[in-house]
Structure formats: C-alpha cells, structure tokens
Symmetry: C2
Subunit: 170 residues, 2 copies
Amino acid sequence: MRVLGVDPGLTRCGVGVVEGTPGRPLTLVGVGVIRTPADMDLSRRLLAIETGLEQWLAEHQPEAVAVERVFSQHNVSTVMGTAQASAVAMLVAARHGLPVALHTPSEVKAAISGSGRAGKDQVATMVARVLRLAEPPKPADAADAAALAICHIWRGTANSRLAAAIAKQR
Amino acid sequence: MRVLGVDPGLTRCGVGVVEGTPGRPLTLVGVGVIRTPADMDLSRRLLAIETGLEQWLAEHQPEAVAVERVFSQHNVSTVMGTAQASAVAMLVAARHGLPVALHTPSEVKAAISGSGRAGKDQVATMVARVLRLAEPPKPADAADAAALAICHIWRGTANSRLAAAIAKQR
C-alpha cells in the first residue's frame, strides 16, 4: 500500500509518500514541502498548493491520501489557512478517485510513538526509525506528513474492519 | 461587470451572478444553491461543490468572484466546513485566472442596507429591491450570495483605488 500523507498549511504544506503493509518494514518513497509566499493572494496560494499536490500524485501514484484533521479549537490565527489547505488536499484526492482519511494529531502521535502527547522531536525521531533513515525528514512539516502516511498504513486494517462493521450495522 | 458571489457552505453553498456597474441598476443573471448531503464523505462533498461552481463559471462567465470571508471566531461547529467550501471557491476562481475578493458579512450588510448589523430578512429584502425582483431569492444562502456580488460591484471602485494606493506606497 502506498499512501500520501499531507500535513496541511499555507506557508508550508508537508507531503510524504510511504509504502508498505502493517507488520513489515515501511519505505519512504518521497518527502517534501510545498511552500507558498505569505504575501501571495490567498486564492493563488491555494492554486499553488493544488498544483504541487497534483505533481506529487502524478509522480508517486499513491492509492490513498491521509490528511491531518484540523480542529477549530487551537491556533485560531492559523486554523483557517490550515483548513483551506486541507480542503485542497481532500479535493485533489477526491478528483483522482482516491480514498481520503483524516487522522488527528493525537492519533498520529499515538500510532507512531505510543503516546498521543509525544513531542515534535519524538515523532520525527520515530519516523526516522520506522523508515530506517539516518535522520528525520526536515522540516518538521515533512516529517509530520510522513508520520501521517505511516499512521494511515498502520491503522488501515483496524479502520477497514471498523468501517465494515459500521456499514453492516446500517 | 459580471460578478459571481459565493456564500460558502458544505450543506448549502449559495451562488449568485449579478451584472452591472455602480450607479446604475444591477441585473440578477442567476442565483441558486449547490447542495451536498451531510452523510457524504467530506472530500466528495468538496468535489461536488467544485463541480457545481465550475458549471456556474462555465455557464455565466463572470469576470470576478466574491466570496464571504470566514472568521474562526463564530459558529465554531460549522466554521471548518465553511472555510473548506470557501477554499474550493477561491481555488476554482484562481484556476480560471479570475480575481477573488473576500468580503466580511458586515461589509456586505453595510453595502446593501447601510448597516453592518442588518438582519438576514433585511438584507434579502434589499437584494430584491436592488435587483428589482418581485421577492428575495430563496433560500437565504442564495440571497446572501447575490448580496456578496452586489457588494463587490458597489465596493469595486473604492477597493481598486485603495489597492492602487497601497501598491504605490510599496
């Protein structure tokens, strides 16, 4: 399974493609950051993020996209931009018929490090260990995107079972 | 000048196309609502909104798009969806090379009714009067979208002068 993780943001949108299956070593296919200048018109920034994500999809052909779930509670000043960047990620994935999963930061931290309260450095260190890298991907947004993809692969089986059970209930 | 106003929302995204110039009677070209079901996957809802907006652009060929500016302060429960729908509207406009303007609800109310605190009904009544309609467009989201387009046309001249002055300062 090949997953594109997206850590949404206007200034830095982290992207990471991870391949593998639960219980086996995972491989980092690619990791990076899509940047847009803060003084650019908001609509053009969203377009630049779309263009960047389209390139990542075209180059790496993931089967699923995992996006960080944005909450309105924290970081009120940046949350709107994050929500808008995440909308672009979801939209691009949907346009390509790819399944989109949202994972909260706590879910990602818990999946990667065993604790929902793990710090940024701890998550980055675990990402490097899981993907057998000499050092964590940089900047932090890139490491977070890779962590999202890892989380999605590891939670995949459990989530599919849950979804199937819910579907059966209905 | 022909403007597409967008009152962003996931369940009901209001759209209204208004044509005219400040100081002359304005004409309603079209008004409506793009709806997406609440039980649909979020990424598919955003895709449906994109498809709907693309159809409005193709059919009515506006020269500018006016989107309601979303604030994170109020309606915390729905604000994320509103922000995401607005991102789709901005993105679609940018992709077509159209200028995008954001107007706050207060700006729209003030432009339409003379008061930034006008109620929904008051705005809808003024929209009908300005556009010489027998009754306000329904539902409220459609009327709000038309109000955004009117606001944009009426504020256009002042905004352009302001933008030019700011650009000159830099």
